[in-house]
């Protein structure tokens, strides 16, 4: 491809790509409103957290029995969503699937933002957050909770590196082009460009490093969500005591992650005017990917519910009946049907995979995925190991309070804010890779 373009064509194509991708960084239309919404949600969460800090966790609906509620559910949701970075940029990347180039960085931004906030949510769930350091000082590597701390940190670091490495050439380009931007911004570009000159040696080092990370992140990403599932599966509680929790969580993670990327693709395509780069073709491909991951996830769901449901062991039966026909049935079936089966069926049709419908379906899938975590965490805790009598009503019912909703919504806003800031500092696609793909001559890139 590269040699099919003449020198001038190649040059002007590169300039066009650069303009297209850098342009939206400067353009501020609608941006302030969006930031305002996010910041006010964050302020609201700050107020809620202030109340929780001064009054203690009693301002949440969590009590002696149900001690894991909305916070832990959102923690799993966040970790799950973060997993998408690994699927897109690493698995598909290593398989040399070309169409992911324009969306890989979007996936990586989601991964960083959600993995970072996942860690914070754990702190929000603590009654005495000032004792956070004790988690490390008195850490026992025997405990799945400590594995989780380890693996989440590692994943965040690798994700950041995977974001930064392909960014180096872009930063160098921004350094040249964004001379009119504020000083601090230029400073960031300067630091992150690491003296990038585009020499073949530099390209070689970068390519090699990305490759190492892309391979490394696969086991780490599998570990992060498997370990998260072990926080549950390593206990003998009804509903959690199952051997398929690892793959069940990992495949579930891909569902919410792919949906999140589709949503982000839609927003960037519209807001950043990237129709030429994120095309219907991409929506079509990602929608097909969503169908695939939902099918895999459904397979695990059938195993997770049909197998114990067929046996109805005593103990299991109370839990399962509550899910199938009891107190939690409405949420359970709404998730299974509205968050998985119906979206999947719609996506099977070509019309369903157009940007608009795919985006709307993704929103349903994301909401379903969020409450799916809730259904995994909370109902199990309603049935304690021992039959305990004469406890207050509030011990065996749970519905989050405004404090919990406030902090959770704030966390979502916070993660979106991280994505927004990244997308305002740097292009949402790697310029040099896109250019290479579109046939810009190699010597133009290594100028």
């Amino acid at each position: 491809m590269a040699d099919s373009l003449s020198k001038e064509e190649s040059k002007s194509l590169l300039t066009k790509i650069e303009n297209d991708l850098i342009g939206p960084i400067k353009n501020h239309k609608g941006f302030l409103v969006w930031i305002l919404v996010l910041v006010s949600l964050l302020v609201w969460a700050g107020v809620a957290y202030g109340v929780q800090l001064s009054e203690g966790l009693s301002v949440t609906a969590m009590r002696d029995h149900i001690s894991w509620g909305l916070y832990i559910s959102s923690f799993i949701f966040f970790v799950a969503t973060a997993l998408i970075g690994m699927l897109i940029s690493s698995v598909l990347g290593l398989l040399k699937i070309k169409w992911i180039t324009p969306i890989a960085r979007i996936a990586e931004m989601i991964a960083i933002a959600f993995a970072m906030w996942a860690g914070l949510i754990i702190v929000f769930d603590m009654g005495r957050p000032e004792r956070l350091l004790n988690v490390f000082i008195h850490a026992r590597p025997q405990s799945p909770i400590f594995w989780d701390v380890t693996v989440v940190t590692t994943y965040v670091v690798i994700s950041i590196l995977l974001y930064l490495l392909p960014l180096i050439p872009d930063a160098a380009m921004l350094r040249v082009r964004m001379t009119d931007s504020p000083k601090w911004k230029q400073k960031i570009y300067k630091i992150l460009s690491f003296n990038w000159k585009g020499t073949p040696e530099q390209f070689h080092v970068i390519h090699k490093s990305i490759r190492i990370l892309a391979i490394l992140i696969i086991p780490v990403a599998l570990a992060i969500h498997t370990v998260t599932s072990w926080l549950f599966a390593m206990t003998p509680r009804i509903g959690w005591d199952t051997t398929i929790f690892g793959p069940y969580f990992v495949t579930g993670a891909f569902v919410s992650g792919v949906a999140a990327v589709i949503l982000a693709m839609f927003v960037f395509q519209k807001q950043y005017n990237l129709k030429e780069y994120i095309t219907d073709f991409h929506f079509d491909k990602m929608s097909k990917l969503l169908v695939l991951v939902i099918l895999v996830y459904l397979y695990f769901n059938i195993n997770e519910y049909l197998v114990p449901g067929y046996k109805m062991k005593s103990g299991d039966d109370i839990h399962l009946r509550e899910l199938f026909v009891g107190h939690d049935a409405l949420m359970f079936w709404a998730i299974q049907l509205g968050g998985m089966i119906i979206p999947m069926i719609i996506l099977l049709f070509k019309k369903g995979r157009k940007p608009m419908p795919a985006m709307i379906i993704s929103i349903f899938v994301i909401i379903g995925a969020f409450f799916k975590r809730y259904i995994i965490v909370v109902p199990t805790m309603k049935h304690p190991h021992l039959p305990i009598q004469n406890v207050p009503e509030s011990f065996h019912t749970y519905w989050p309070t405004w404090v919990e909703w406030g902090i959770t919504l704030g966390s979502i806003a916070g993660a979106l804010l991280v994505v927004t800031i990244l997308a305002k500092l740097f292009p949402v696609m790697p310029v040099w890779e896109v250019a290479e793909e579109k046939g810009v001559n190699q010597e133009d890139l290594t100028k």
Binding site: H138, P141, Q142, T150, L165, W196, K197, Q202, I206, L213
Partner: protein
């Protein structure tokens, strides 16, 4: 949930309406039936045992008005004991409302033994009212352990130390355990004021000791009479402290080797790779400077 509450309430109302209306309707014929068993001591004491295991949970101790189910009648009260034997038998047999029927779960003879027991309370009360001396805080306890027979001999004495010769003082034996005191037996004293309990399968601490408490188990009548002592009943034992071995449940210092290797190996391996990549970024920077110069 809401639905359930409403049904519960509904049933509650029905239940109250039903029970508050109900009255014991004892047929004349049943009232007249006589106890076919002789009211012997063994008969009464078997009735007492059956009462303790079947009835006490609701009715409490007869004559003490300490029913656990507030509506359950105190069958030891003088008021109640005006009932005829036949009526009591009928009530136990048929039940009513919250009072279960024992027709199926207790035999004919067992039910009559209950009648005998309840009836005997009337006599006791008569005796007690007939000038029984006030025993409140008049007695003391002591006990000794006999190694040969592996039994604890408790003796009830008056304050001067001489044995209390009136039989039937209930002495309870309790052993200290993690979460309180475990009752291992209750024996009534004989005419020499003695109550002897054989120790069966009582676990000791490392030194072979237990902390034994004995008390007179009728506080209302005798007051708080209790004695606690550590006694040696067994050999030195050696316990394996499972918190000290290398195990998953151990402290951090006692982490199993395999887990330590796995944790350090995996985490270390991944971080070596991460550090390597970070060094590569430095290399990129260096390569860039070389071009400059």
């Amino acid at each position: 949930m809401k639905y359930n509450k409403i049904t519960l309430l509904l049933f509650g109302f029905l239940f109250i309406a039903y029970t508050s209306q109900a009255q014991w309707k004892i047929p004349e014929k049943a009232k007249k039936s006589k106890n076919p068993h002789e009211s012997s001591d063994t008969h009464i004491s078997s009735g007492k045992k059956i009462y303790a295991s079947n009835c006490k949970s609701c009715h409490g101790d007869p004559g003490k008005a300490n029913a656990l189910l507030p509506t359950a009648t105190d069958v030891g009260s003088a008021d109640y004991l005006k009932m005829k034997d036949g009526s009591i038998y009928y009530q136990i047999t048929e039940g009513m409302g919250a009072m279960p029927s024992f027709k199926k779960s207790l035999s004919d003879e067992e039910r009559w033994s209950l009648v005998s027991y309840i009836r005997s309370l009337a006599n006791k009360e008569a005796v007690e009212e007939g000038g029984d001396e006030n025993m409140l805080d008049k007695l003391s306890l002591k006990f000794e352990f006999d190694k040969a027979s592996n039994s604890v001999k408790a003796s009830v004495t008056d304050k001067s130390g001489s044995p209390y010769s009136k039989a039937g003082v209930p002495v309870a034996f309790l052993v200290k355990r993690y979460f309180g005191q475990m009752k291992i037996g209750e024996i009534e004293t004989n005419e020499s004021g003695l109550a002897t309990l054989k120790l069966v399968d009582i676990k000791t601490d490392e030194k072979g000791n237990i902390e034994l408490s004995i008390k007179i188990n009728d506080r209302d009548k005798y007051g708080d009479v209790k004695l606690t002592q550590e006694i040696t009943i067994g050999e030195h034992r050696h316990f394996k402290n499972i918190l000290e071995e290398r195990a998953l449940w151990g402290s951090r210092a006692n982490i199993p080797w395999w887990m330590l290797f796995l944790y350090v190996g995996i985490t270390g391996g991944v971080w070596v790779a991460i550090v390597y990549v970070i060094l590569q970024i430095k290399k990129v920077k260096k390569l860039g400077t070389q071009i400059n110069t």
